[in-house]
Structure formats: structure tokens, C-alpha cells
């Protein structure tokens, strides 16, 4: 009954896999500061992985966070859209080839959108979330048809 409206308001969930906090600060900026205000796009941050529709992942997937990441991803229901924020999850970035890195992220999960930058500009994050919403709508449609 609510599925028609659900496509209009995806919930964002944030996973930090050992980032330097740069991208997380930019994510917080995008969400909390009225200047960027990601909620204009109809989305809202959630605290629970079970409610997540669009997952924003930061960090290069360190050895310590790998297990938590996999456990977290198992809790997120389909259909979901994974967005890699920053060069860390996309390619390892400046931490690439380090002994303590188990990335990149697409080794663990199917990524949909990459937003590169170190850190990412809030405007680029908005771009990425807008793209993710587009993909998410397609996925929801396919999910209902299947």
C-alpha cells in the first residue's frame, strides 16, 4: 500500500570502514548544515541498517572493520543501492597496497555509484545521492515486477 510513496523517500545509512574521517565530516555537512541539506532530495538518515535503502560507505575497508562491514551488509534488505564515498572505498586511494586494507569495497558487495574525491565535496555527494535515487527507483520497480 505504501510502496508507491516509498520510492519518493529513500532512507540513507552510513557505514564507516576505517576512513580518516574526512569524508564522514563531509557527509555530516551534507546532512546537517542547511546550506547543503540532503533532505531536499527526499531522503533521510536512519540509524538502523534494517531501514536502509541507500548505503553510503566511506573508508578503505580495514582489516578490523571488514567483519563489521560484512555483518552490517547482511542486515540491509534488498533492494538497496550502495554508494562509495571518497577514493578510499573505490580504489583504496592513498592507502592502496597497504597491509591493513581489505578493499576495495566492490570486492565485498556490488557497488552502484562511485563518488570520488578526498574528501568529497558536499555538492558531489548530492550528485551521487541524486544518481543513487534514480538507480533505487529502477531497482524498486524491478523488485515489484519480479
Amino acid at each position: 500500500m505504501f510502496s508507491k510513496y516509498a520510492t519518493k523517500s529513500p532512507w540513507l545509512y552510513r557505514i564507516n570502514t576505517g576512513s580518516c574521517n574526512g569524508c564522514d565530516v563531509e557527509l555530516a555537512t551534507t546532512a546537517l548544515i542547511p546550506r547543503f541539506d540532503v533532505e531536499r532530495l527526499g531522503c533521510k538518515y536512519t540509524g538502523s541498517p534494517k531501514h536502509a535503502d541507500i548505503v553510503l560507505v566511506t573508508g578503505p575497508v580495514t582489516v578490523r572493520s571488514e567483519n563489521y562491514l560484512i555483518r552490517m551488509l547482511n542486515e540491509i534488505p534488498d533492494p538497496r543501492v550502495i554508494v562509495a564515498i571518497g577514493i578510499c572505498p573505490i580504489s583504496g586511494g592513498i592507502y592502496r597496497d597497504s597491509y591493513s586494507i581489505r578493499g576495495p569495497l566492490d570486492k565485498h558487495v556490488e557497488v552502484d555509484v562511485n563518488v570520488s574525491g578526498c574528501p568529497v565535496r558536499p555538492q558531489s555527494i548530492l550528485d551521487g545521492v541524486a544518481q543513487a535515487i534514480g538507480i533505487w527507483k529502477d531497482k524498486i520497480k524491478q523488485f515489484h515486477e519480479a
Binding site: 542547511p34 547543503f36 577514493i87 562511485n114 563518488v115 570520488s116 578526498c118 568529497v120
Partner: protein, 167 residues
């Protein structure tokens, strides 16, 4: 209390602080270090940018067919540090103001810049060599005479021989 009302009324009269992006234009600072831009006309193929890049985003290699030097840049590992632009002797590579870095996963491994320069031929022995670049000549010589022009059209080997003959 009066102060509170003053701020509230002022904020009520001001326009919204929200940046209209992505529905409208946004402000980008002049010195914002965005996606790398590359001018092949200025590049001398010296490899400095690849050497100083901390994230290995730039690759400068001899082309497979030996016709020149290729320059490729992979956005998805660039940390926008600006080292390449700072150290490039001719400013062939620099940070543009472009911040549109959100890409679909299918484009992940497509190089953002895939360009390069071609070799020229030595005017004497027809050997392939890197071409001279005006910007660098202007820095090296006070005045670019005919003699200098002739010298730069020669490969290093021929130039050495010519100099030797003159002695």
C-alpha cells in the same frame, strides 16, 4: 530576549541559506582543486607528475606503437592534492574547477584523461625524439635565436656531434 527576536526577524527577512545545487548553480572557489585537466600541447613527457602523485592516478608511458608518449589519468584514485600541477615544469597538468565526480560503477575503470603527445623527427638523422616545447624554451633562453631553433630541432645525439664540431 530582544537579541533573539532581532536575529529571528533578520533571518525571516533574509533569503534561504540553502545552496540551490543540484537544482541550480553553486559557488566554486577560484582555487578549488577539482578534476585534473591536461594540455597535450604543453606536455614534454618528463614523467614528473607520475613520480610525485601520491595515489598513483597518473601514468605516463611510451606508446605501444612507439609513436609517442601516452598520458592517462584515473579519477577514482586521485586525492586532488595538486602535486602534479605544482611540479609540472610547463603547467601542462593542473586542477580544474570541476567537482562533478559522481560516476556510475560501470564507468569505474575508464580513464578520465587518455591522451598523449607524439614524437617528432630529428631534422638531421630522422631519429624519433621528444619535441621541444615553447614554454620551456622561453624559460631556458633569454632570447630564442635561429641558432637555438636549429639546436632544438636536433636529437640529443646530433646536438652533441654539432657542438663537438664547433669546438
Amino acid at each position: 530576549m530582544a537579541g533573539f527576536f532581532k536575529i529571528a526577524i533578520r533571518n525571516f527577512l533574509n533569503s534561504p541559506t540553502t545552496d540551490p545545487y543540484p537544482f541550480g548553480e553553486t559557488f566554486t572557489p577560484e582555487n578549488y582543486r577539482g578534476i585534473i585537466d591536461y594540455t597535450p600541447e604543453l606536455c614534454i613527457g618528463c614523467n614528473t607528475c607520475e613520480y610525485v602523485c601520491p595515489s598513483g592516478a597518473i601514468r605516463v608511458r611510451e606508446k605501444e606503437d612507439g609513436s609517442g608518449i601516452s598520458f592517462s589519468f584515473w579519477l577514482n584514485t586521485c586525492s586532488h592534492c595538486g602535486n602534479c600541477g605544482y611540479y609540472c615544469p610547463t603547467d601542462a597538468v593542473f586542477n580544474s574547477n570541476d567537482f562533478h565526480t559522481a560516476r556510475h560503477q560501470s564507468e569505474k575503470f575508464i580513464p578520465t584523461i587518455d591522451d598523449g603527445i607524439s614524437y617528432v623527427q630529428c631534422s638531421n638523422c630522422k631519429q624519433k625524439m621528444k619535441r621541444p616545447v615553447e614554454a620551456l624554451l622561453a624559460r631556458a633562453y633569454e632570447e630564442i635565436t635561429e641558432e637555438v631553433r636549429h639546436q632544438t630541432s636536433l636529437c640529443p645525439e646530433c646536438r652533441r656531434m654539432k657542438r663537438f664540431e664547433r669546438m
